[in-house]
């Protein structure tokens, strides 16, 4: 068996180099094809009718006019009469037509009668009403140590209430697919994070064997945790395709529907009480939280609070899952972590203010409660240096006289990121060409690039000599891209597959080099005898020895036996510098310092992009994004980009990223990076605003109205 371990740092030629993304040219030139760009011969277009009511029952559906509408080819009822609707946006019917415009006309001509109940509940922040209505399900109390005694022993007790509303994924490519189902076999072109698994999911919905579904996807326009399943619209579009004789149908959500029903990050609200000694050591922690991810409620693992500082000895945790009439939650980049980071770090910052201590000191003082005190210490100190903490930090609210106040704040995070199971096939052809196949997907994280780098490194070839094929469920199976598991899973599988193939190549060419296979190495496009550079063959000449039979080999990553190639478990710290105009309430992010712990970095360029992108998402969540539900109608009021705000290029200030590439971290192998850097930013920005204006704004996003209201309360 080859020795799979990564080459030592000083011997890596391609791994660790900031090479350009291999699919960059395709993306930058508009040639990259996404699900929405697929046009198959004879393809029809579908439009979706959704419920305008948040709680209602469908009593009648009349499609007769729609059927006669020009261009309409078929209608699929999704919510039959009798169906109870629990959120606005629920799928009612799909119409397929020769053009999208005609499909929309058809949708408009469907007449639906509803019994409207008008008793919907959408006020997710209002626990008291939820309890009164029986919509809050307590999950029971979890107690560790003796919190009551500890609060008595505390020198200072700080209390606060904080909340973070639901936000949506906002994938720029909305959910949907092109699908053709002839009753037996399915051609499926979804926008998915789960190329190897989504076909089986669709098959289940259609009650056909999983092997009958062919999935193909070249590129995906954003997923962030919301695109693992085939979804109702996938199954129903396939059924409609069958109805119209197996013709392919394209359906993707319009923006409103995308925001309404394609997933959101759950809201979490909570009341916190923290007890500490005079020196800042936390001894007691109590939280009463409630969360909602939609009609199904919203659970929270007690281990997540207090976040990171989870070994506070005396703590009490209470949580309620609140059910509301709104579209459901889905995994959202680091599920629950950004929320609990914000809640926990806000409570710690407020404690520091009450103690009249520098919060950095309080964070440092309590690191013994975390899983990796030394990592966090180094990260906090590094971030402090990057943001200029020493020279710029001032006690809360003491930012001088003018109307524009400045402030600094801290946030921290933790994540796993151990690679998923994956298998890759490598074929080395007698003409020297190398083809890799793996049923994975590149979400824009750089998966194609890091696989190609890993293969090139292992085979001693330039990257351009490697042909990589991903995005098809006919290739060996790879895990879904969730939990920051893809880089570990695919790089380890690539390493093993390529070295397995190389071993076979060595066997084939060893005789002609007059050496044993285990004396050979592949380097610089050559196969050579170790220690004797005079004995070598070019890669092509070596492959020619294969005659007419290519080499085929596979390699698998198994997360249970990572073999030193991959690991999990990271920490991260971020610090924000903000400016707040206390006359307008406008918060401007000046700078975000991002310090991220990682494993061995295959590509520092795409890794940094992950950090920048994650930081920007955190800025959006801290300052702009919020799903606003209308209590009267139960509808999502701002489900369009005019009013659902994302940061633009000018809104994100300066972002400085430091990847913590120490030799110790490198030695752990590859660790996922997609999610961890999205966690600490909201907390850091919210704390910076509290530091600037001298008062806590209890809810994010920190919109001008909320900032002004907080200032008002302070004056009152």
């Amino acid at each position: 068996m080859p020795d799979y371990k990564w080459p030592p740092k000083d011997q890596r030629r391609i791994i660790g180099k900031p090479v350009n993304r291999v699919d960059g040219p395709a993306k930058a030139s508009g040639r990259a094809r996404f699900s929405q760009d697929v046009r198959l011969p004879g393809m029809l277009y579908a439009a979706l009718l959704t419920s305008p009511y948040a709680h209602a029952k469908v009593t009648d559906i009349d499609t007769s006019q729609a059927e006669k509408s020009p261009g309409v080819k078929g209608i699929q009822i999704i919510s039959e009469p009798g169906t109870e609707i629990q959120w606005a946006g629920t799928e009612i019917a799909l119409v397929a037509a020769d053009t999208e415009e005609h499909a929309r006309d058809g949708v408009r001509k469907i007449k639906v009668k509803y019994e409207v109940f008008n008793d919907h509940f959408v006020k997710e922040a209002d626990l008291a009403t939820a309890q009164k209505l029986g919509r809050a399900k307590p999950s029971g109390e979890a107690v560790t140590g003796d919190p009551d005694q500890a609060f008595k022993d505390a020198d200072v007790i700080s209390e606060g209430e904080y909340g973070i509303p639901p936000i949506t994924h906002c994938c720029l490519e909305s959910h949907g697919q092109v699908v053709a189902f002839d009753g037996e076999k399915v051609e499926y072109r979804p926008s998915t994070q789960n190329v190897s698994g989504v076909g089986g999911d669709l098959a289940k919905g259609l009650e056909i064997p999983a092997a009958n579904v062919h999935v193909h996807q070249d590129h995906i326009g954003g997923g962030f945790g919301s695109k693992f399943a085939s979804d109702r619209w996938g199954v129903e579009t396939a059924k409609l395709s069958k109805k119209v004789g197996g013709k392919p149908i394209r359906y993707h959500h319009d923006r409103r529907t995308e925001l309404e029903i394609a997933g959101c990050r759950p809201a979490i609200y909570g009341r916190f009480k923290v007890g500490a000694k005079k020196d800042g050591t936390i001894i007691a922690w109590e939280s009463k939280t409630w969360a909602t991810g939609g009609f199904g409620g919203g659970g929270l693992n007690a281990n997540l609070l207090p976040y990171v500082f989870r070994d506070v000895p005396n703590r009490r945790f209470n949580h309620s899952a609140v059910s509301i009439n709104a579209g459901g939650a889905r995994a959202w980049r680091a599920p629950n972590h950004p929320q609990v980071s914000f809640l926990t770090c806000s409570a710690i910052e407020d404690l520091a203010a009450k103690l009249k201590m520098d919060p950095l000191e309080v964070f440092l003082k309590n690191l013994h409660y975390t899983q990796r005190p030394e990592v966090y210490r180094a990260q906090l100190l590094k971030a402090a240096e990057m943001i200029g903490w020493k020279s710029k930090w001032h006690p809360r609210g003491q930012s001088g006289r003018g109307p524009v106040k400045t402030g600094l704040g801290i946030g921290i995070g933790t994540w796993g990121g151990m690679g998923h199971n994956a298998t890759e096939r490598v074929t080395i052809h007698p003409d020297g060409s190398v083809v890799l196949e793996i049923g994975s997907q590149d979400l824009g994280t750089g998966t194609r690039t890091i696989i190609t780098q890993t293969a090139a490194e292992s085979l001693g070839l330039p990257m351009k000599d490697i042909t990589l094929r991903i995005g098809d469920n006919r290739y060996p199976r790879a895990g879904a891209s969730g939990g920051s598991t893809t880089v570990g899973g695919t790089s380890a599988a690539t390493r093993k597959a390529t070295l397995n193939a190389l071993e076979k190549l060595f066997e084939a060419v060893a005789p002609s080099l007059g050496a044993q296979p285990d004396q050979l190495v592949a380097r610089d496009g050559k196969i050579m005898v170790k220690g004797d550079s005079s004995k070598s063959l070019t890669w092509r000449a070596a492959c020619a020895k294969l005659g007419v039979t290519p080499i085929e080999a596979t390699g698998s990553n198994n997360r249970r036996s990572p073999g030193g190639l991959i690991a999990g478990g990271v920490g991260g710290a971020q610090m924000a510098e903000v400016e707040v105009d206390t006359e307008t309430g406008i918060v401007t992010l000046k700078k975000l310092a991002v310090v991220q712990d990682c494993g061995m970095i295959i590509n520092p360029k795409t890794a940094a992009s992950q950090c920048y992108g994650a930081a920007i998402m955190a800025i959006c969540g801290a300052l702009y994004e919020e799903r606003i539900l209308d209590a009267a109608t139960g509808r999502f009021l701002n489900a369009e980009f005019d009013f659902y705000k994302l940061a633009g290029i000018k809104d994100v200030g300066q972002i400085e990223v430091h990847l913590d590439m120490t030799p110790e971290h490198d030695a752990r192998g590859v660790v996922g990076l997609g999610e961890p850097p999205v966690i600490p930013g909201i907390a850091a920005i919210a704390n910076a605003v509290a530091n600037a204006i001298g008062v806590r704004v209890p809810r994010v996003p920190l919109t001008p109205d909320r900032v002004l209201a907080a200032l008002e309360r302070r004056r009152a």
């Binding site: 030139s29 508009g30 720029l172």
Partner: protein, 211 residues
């Protein structure tokens, strides 16, 4: 789907409806007005009024003429993507807030989702597909690649086209200028830091000239 055929440029039919805003109201979720307009039988162009049925139009895209039949309500974006197979421009918000659909009309960046195909007749339309010469990338594209100004890549074509139009008018921009100039596009993956650098680099590579 009709395949476009190249033909002689024809005279523009007079358009009776030119405001996307009006027609947007007619689309999904529109009110009674929409249905009334749409249910009228298709009329041939008559006394300056076209539609609501299909009309023949000619679009001049990337230096080539395309003749196609579309209903007057069809946006330039949908005509390009679904009728002409030019899928570089993306549909994201479909209402002029994100810039993913940006194309050049007479050299100016416009949102193709808020432009009607019939109104784009007789104008010089350039899409991202028209910015490459064979496999040679445009300097803006090269700079996007070098600076990793893309992740999922869905917003990227819109940004690249908008950046080209911006550089044409501001041949020597600073990052600050770029932030002011490219405010009309959104990226969810958060590629703004790379884009700021890429646009400055591209402008330099283009030698401070309009290109």
């Amino acid at each position: 789907m009709r395949s476009p055929k190249e033909s002689q440029v024809r005279k523009l039919p007079e358009s009776g409806v030119s405001r996307r805003g009006f027609l947007q109201g007619v689309s999904l979720g529109g009110g009674a007005l929409g249905a009334a307009v749409l249910e009228r039988p298709a009329e041939a162009a008559q006394s300056g009024v076209v539609g609501p049925g299909e009309v023949s139009i000619t679009l001049w895209v990337n230096g080539k003429e395309h003749e196609l039949r579309v209903e007057p309500r069809v946006t330039l974006l949908d005509a390009l993507r679904d009728r002409l197979g030019l899928t570089g421009a993306k549909r994201v918000c479909d209402r002029g807030t994100c810039g993913a659909c940006t194309v050049l009309v007479e050299g100016k960046a416009v949102y193709a989702c808020t432009t009607l195909a019939i109104d784009a007749q007789g104008k010089n339309i350039q899409t991202i597909e028209g910015m490459t010469r064979g496999s040679e990338l445009h300097p803006v594209m090269k700079a996007f690649v070098n600076n990793d100004a893309q992740q999922c890549g869905f917003c990227t074509p819109g940004f690249v086209v908008a950046a080209k139009a911006f550089i044409d008018e501001h041949p020597n921009p600073t990052e600050e200028d770029v932030m002011n100039g490219l405010g009309g596009n959104l990226c969810r993956c958060g590629t703004y830091i790379g884009i700021r650098k890429a646009v400055v680099e591209a402008a330099k590579a283009m030698g401070g000239r309009n290109a």
